[in-house]
Amino acid sequence: MATETHEATSHAADAAASAPGMPQLDFSNWGNQIFWLMITLVAIYFVLSRIALPRIAAVLAERQGTITNDIAAAEGLKVKAAEAEEAYNKALADARAQAQAIVAEAKAEIQVELDAAIAKADAEIAAKAAESEKAIAEIRAGALVAVKEVASDTATEIVSTLGGKADVKAVGAAVDTRIKG
């Protein structure tokens, strides 16, 4: 290797004007390259470590923070929405229960009125029925008397027509027994 590099430098020296061998092995310009490389690296290092990297790190952290905050806010809104839904459901249930109570109350009221009306109607009907019965009884009694009279009259007539002498008491007794039978 040592001889090679030695030759390379000597070749590079005498072939510098024309096409050189390998420019990479021309050690006369290594110092120059290394010098400028150092300056370049130091410049990039300072630019990156002082300005660029902290800035990008800050931006990334900020973005992470924003995302976290947004997610937290979304969670909060979700909880709120759930609460609102619960409240709505509760209101709905309340309203339903109230409606049912009102319906039941109305039903009870109507029942009471109905019962009263029925009772009144029953009483009226009962009174009417009693009256009617009384009237019927009277009519029946009247009818019985009339039947008895007609029967005794008829029997007396029949008997007299047949030429007999009708005993009023006997006819009456006979009619009575007939009617009863």
Binding site: E4, E7, A8, H11, G21, M22, L25
Partner: protein, 74 residues
Amino acid sequence: MEGQLAHIGAGLAAIGSGAAAIGVGNVAGNYLAGALRNPSAAASQTATLFIGIAFAEALGIFSFLVALLLMFAV
């Protein structure tokens, strides 16, 4: 005469590039075979893949360098 021998030597050294190609192909092929068997583990091994390729390729570059030295520096 010496320069012509050096050129022959450079050509011989260039064979090493082909050998390095075999090596790199071996690394990549085996990686692919493994990755197809277990795709979930493939992503975590890409760094290893590149390191392996780099090591295999470095030796090919060495032979290329020897060829260049024989061509231009001897």
